[in-house]
Subunit: 220 residues, 2 copies
DNA sequence: TAGATTGTTAATCGATTAACAATC
DNA sequence: TAGATTGTTAATCGATTAACAATC
């Protein structure tokens, strides 16, 4: 069904970014864009944009460009963002709460069905309209509610065990925020988000910027 | 001073990961490791590990391997994680709170000095021991306290303006969580963290996993 | 010393960019 | 039609892997 079976991950990582810019154009009422204009906007070369898109099909029209709305929809479909996904969050700490909140506001298509906790003091409470439930009941819940994605907002030490439980219960994907690399069976996709690593790389670039410019670094 | 002036970003992005694994080894009391053993642990090839490290110097010893503690310290120094950084967070919503919390627990070397808000109802409160201050006073504060890093936890629409203000006030780096790509002057480093993009890529891989396996996807 | 493992050069692989014919 | 811009092939560039001599 696909033109090629193997599409490189570098390409996949660019699609959400293309989509984000297309969404903004769409909201501004722009209805067509050329790869060249899109290049200026996104910072990717026109060649790369066309190359990337043509992994999935010819979405443009020669002499005209791409339909903003059309391309937005195509990319959404490629990523699977034209469907709805049910999530559970494990861990009701500030990070878990932020994710619930974030998903609630920004992400149509993603519905947080429940938050699971081991702390009995929090169980039964309500975060942004989502019930905090007992972690002991998570397997049953995930099975019954046919949950698609588990979001891991636990400590590092608990994360792999939670991942195993969720995989066993039948989730199709894990979105992990604990600072470990989670391992999953082949049929369960996983995305390990290491927020602190981006901070480390920021610090590296900060210090590199300053190299040899110590004198003029801070005005006043 | 550096062996090469230009080290590729791909290399830099791997360093925090190396460092994380080294830290775990260190805590377990392991004191030496070969590139081959480290390869099994991290998933990178031994060749790549040695290649990466030799961008910065010869940290190993032939016939022996690398000192875990020593390499951990070297990588920390390369990244600049042997110094302290003062941060301010802009936006005291759940995301801002989560970052304060996160930084508080996980990240020695990063001190959140203040959180800035426009909402008068929140100003004056206290989050994890950090005072919520009036956004109107941010430039003065950043200048006086010599803040290194600004963390942007605002809405998309406010983000660039906040970035401009912080850059003007003299921060050396911006860690941006708003769903836009922030632009900064050349002397201000920036890391745009797009959490939702990792969710999109997770969804792609989830659906790809399921392709042609619809029949056997969910047991029971 | 012999064995092990690094540091480093050379070979391969993959991803990006350039070029241009196809076509709207 | 002429002009513009895509889709796609070919060329280039960079990053990863393999190989091995240096050396602890």
């Amino acid at each position: 069904m696909r033109k090629q079976t193997k599409i490189s991950n570098a390409v996949i990582k660019r699609l959400p970014r293309y989509r984000r810019y297309l969404n903004e154009l769409r909201k501004k009422g722009v209805d067509k864009i050329s790869s060249n204009e899109f290049s200026h906007l996104t910072g990717y070369t026109a060649s790369q944009i066309r190359q990337d898109l043509n992994n999935f099909g010819g979405f443009g029209q020669q002499g005209y460009g791409y339909s903003v709305e059309g391309l937005y929809n195509e990319i959404s479909a490629i990523l699977g963002l034209d469907k709805e996904y049910k999530l559970v969050v494990v861990g009701a700490g500030r990070l878990g709460q932020a994710i619930v909140n974030y998903t609630y506001y920004y992400k149509s298509g993603f519905v947080v069905k429940g938050i699971f906790e081991i702390d009995k003091n929090i169980i039964g409470k309500n975060i942004n309209g989502v019930e905090v439930m007992d972690y002991d009941n998570i397997v049953e819940y995930v099975e019954n509610e046919k949950i698609d994605i588990g979001v891991i907002c636990t400590t590092r030490d608990a994360a792999q065990e939670v991942a195993d439980k969720l995989s066993f219960a039948g989730v199709r994907g894990l979105w992990n925020f604990a600072p470990v690399d989670i391992e999953t069976p082949a049929h369960v996709a996983v995305e390990n988000v290491h927020i602190s690593e981006s901070l480390h790389s920021l610090v590296y670039h900060m210090n590199k910027n300053d190299e040899g410019t110590e004198k003029k670094s801070r005005k006043k």
